[in-house]
């Protein structure tokens, strides 16, 4: 019982809808994901940690079948996850909670209708659906009375609870959480995170949590995958990756996060991520890396196993030999 992401590659063609597409000589692509592999045990949480443009949201969408990968596949308990519009899609087994509940919920729908949507086509009777809806609302801590209200009448934290209720109503195996707390207030964030952990303990959901916040990652994760420009640069158990980071990017990312004590790293990471259209030859992080070597400019590092983690960096090549 597990979710496997096997060597997924995703490219988006540039200018595909452009008026001038027939005149352009060569096609240009953005490589959003380049050979991403992960495996998650049932009931565990893997956190995808990365900045904007790292491909973390694309990965989440591919996992639930909202996008088709160009290469590679997603396996859920051995069965291949198919694009949602195709035959054989695993309906209801994989669900997604989006970043902004204000945008992902229909403002004119009542809470009950909204939560019921994923199971309307499942062949259940009307009473059964109502029962399931009320049960999931109860699980996320919303009162039965809120079922008749419009989703637009709710506060941000309540909306995100509705989004979670909608995700769990079909009793899925895997829930992809795309920055579930980044659009809500700090004082509410802790409530929602607690709720997610409680639901996981109760129901044994497998979570793929997408976030840029190392604090959220620490609280939620069993395993952490750090992404940079479409590749996983470091992947391993929580304690290994966040407490003893090996890849220079992971180290820099963790140091950049502001701390409540006000203490900051002596020197923030320099530069900005290069464009995905012209990915630098060699290691993708090399232009910003303080440990850059001649070798890093020439070819891309392959993942190296250190303890229980996988790190893509030439710095650790010798230690393996």
């Amino acid at each position: 019982m597990s979710l496997v992401v096997d060597n997924v590659v995703k490219r988006f063609q540039l200018g595909k809808k452009s008026l001038f597409r027939f005149f352009s000589k060569r096609q240009r692509f953005v490589t959003a994901l380049e050979g991403v592999s992960l495996s998650i045990k049932k009931g565990e949480t893997v956190v995808i940690l990365g900045e904007s443009g790292s491909g973390k949201t694309t990965l989440g969408r591919i996992i639930v079948g909202l996008e088709k990968p160009d290469q590679g596949k997603i396996l859920l308990n051995g069965a291949k996850v198919v694009y949602v519009r195709e035959r054989g899609a695993l309906r209801g087994r994989l669900q997604m909670v989006f970043q902004d509940p204000g945008a992902s919920l229909d403002p004119f729908q009542s809470v009950a209708d909204c939560v019921a949507e994923p199971i309307l086509q499942s062949g259940h009777k009307k009473e059964e659906i109502t029962k399931k809806v009320i049960e999931s609302l109860r699980l996320v801590g919303l009162e039965e009375s809120s079922a008749k209200r419009k989703t637009s009448e709710l506060s941000g934290g309540q909306k995100q609870r509705v989004a979670i209720a909608r995700a769990i109503v079909s009793e899925p195996d895997v829930i992809v959480l795309d920055e579930p707390t980044s659009s809500i207030d700090v004082s509410i964030q802790a409530q929602v995170l607690n709720l997610l952990v409680e639901l996981q303990r109760l129901k044994g959901y497998t979570y793929v949590l997408i976030t840029h916040d190392p604090n959220v990652a620490r609280f939620m994760a069993d395993a952490v995958a750090v992404m940079y420009l479409g590749k996983i640069v470091e992947y391993g158990p929580l304690s290994r990756v966040l407490d003893n980071p090996k890849h220079p990017y992971t180290q820099a990312l963790l140091l950049s996060a502001p701390k409540i004590t006000g203490a900051t790293s002596s020197k923030p990471i320099q530069g900005e991520p290069p464009s995905l259209i012209n990915i630098p030859q060699g290691c993708r992080y090399e232009p910003r890396c303080p440990y850059s070597m001649a070798k890093c400019k020439e070819k891309e590092p392959t993942p190296i196993q250190i303890d229980e983690a996988r790190v893509s960096c030439f710095l650790y090549e010798q230690t393996q030999l």
């Binding site: 900045e51 904007s52 506060s155 941000g156 934290g157 309540q158 207030d185 700090v186 004082s187 509410i188 964030q189 802790a190 409530q191 995170l193 607690n194 952990v197 409680e198 840029h212 916040d213 190392p214 604090n215 959220v216 620490r218 609280f219 939620m220 994760a221 929580l238 820099a252 990312l253 140091l255 950049s256 996060a257 502001p258 701390k259 409540i260 004590t261 006000g262 900051t264 790293s265 923030p268 990471i269 320099q270 530069g271 900005e272």
Partner: protein
């Protein structure tokens, strides 16, 4: 300060007293609905038309009261006196103008307001210098570009460069790093600190993120429900929070793993209803008791820090 809305009057900000000294960064922390942006807009003289300010209020920039000044006077203050940096730099920059021309325009405005002679070549040189000061890579190239060709971090640097050429006394930064990545955010915060240190500008830094505020502020003001709940030196407020809300905020930042136990969340959520005659935080406060609901507590000064909580003296505003 009230907002006239379709459903009546909303008291967005009440009894807020703040001061920023020269060369100081005041961090204003609060969640949505706390009134932090309203305070900022009022200081910049940018309140929307449906906003009205109580007659007894005043906002003083050195000696000028922004609230009672004429529009033309406020125009002079804005830019040279107060400069505002918004959350989304794309929205504050003109998408149809090259960075160069926007920078030069800012210099022209300054010259006009401070009655200096304006010289185009000199202005261009100054704009370039200012861009270099904010450590933007390849400043010559950036001058010739449009905002949409730059990243969020670069645009925010351009905004700061513009603030530098305007030479304001006070910079108001409203969530300037919220739209940026963590690594870019660290760079921008570092830059802000350096600029403040070298130019002696004052800054009001508005954020919902306590950790960001901790990194940059000298003093902190915590807003909740339109009122100032606690204020004081940043390190003291964070290491020894006195108001239950500040304490709750600090505790709700995830700092442990799920195996180590649940987070201590603040219960409930913020509602405006019925907050007129009691402590605004009382409905959500873990320490709430009868006294909290009797009236709005006064801001008690304890060890040089202001706290609006009955646990530090049971006195109410009338």
């Amino acid at each position: 300060m009230d907002y006239q809305t379709a459903s009546g009057t909303l008291h967005a900000v009440r009894r807020v007293n703040l001061s920023v000294n020269e060369g100081e960064v005041l961090g204003v922390v609060g969640e949505s609905g706390s009134g932090k942006t309203t305070v900022a807009l009022a200081v910049a003289g940018l309140l929307p038309r449906n906003a009205s300010v109580n007659d007894s209020s005043q906002i003083l920039l050195e000696e000028t009261n922004i609230l009672t000044s004429k529009a033309s006077d406020i125009d002079r203050i804005r830019g040279t006196g107060v400069f505002m940096i918004f959350q989304d730099p794309f929205m504050s920059l003109n998408p149809l103008m090259k960075i160069k021309h926007q920078m030069i325009e800012a210099i022209r405005v300054r010259c006009k307001r401070s009655l200096e002679p304006f010289n185009r070549e000199e202005a261009e040189r100054e704009a370039l210098e200012s861009l270099k000061k904010v450590r933007i890579g390849d400043a010559d190239d950036i001058m010739e570009r449009y905002p949409h060709q730059l990243s969020g971090g670069q645009n925010q640097r351009v905004m700061l460069a513009m603030a530098l050429v305007e030479k304001p006394k006070l910079v108001i930064a409203d969530e300037p790093t919220t739209a940026l990545d963590v690594t870019t955010q660290a760079q921008i915060l570092d830059l802000f600190k350096e600029i403040i240190r070298s130019t002696k500008m004052s800054m009001m830094f508005i954020t919902h993120d306590l950790a960001v505020a901790a990194t940059i502020s000298d003093r902190l003001a915590v807003l909740y429900g339109g009122m100032l709940q606690e204020s004081g030196p940043a390190n003291e407020v964070l290491s020894n929070p006195m108001h239950p809300y500040t304490l709750g905020l600090i505790k709700s930042i995830p700092s442990k793993t799920k195996a180590e136990g649940m987070l201590e969340a603040i219960k409930g959520f913020f509602k405006w209803d019925g907050l007129e005659h009691m402590c605004a935080f009382a409905p959500r406060c873990p320490l709430a008791h009868d006294a909290c609901f009797k009236g709005v507590p006064v801001a008690t000064v304890v060890n040089g820090r202001a706290v609006r909580c009955v646990n530090y003296g049971e006195q109410y505003e009338n």
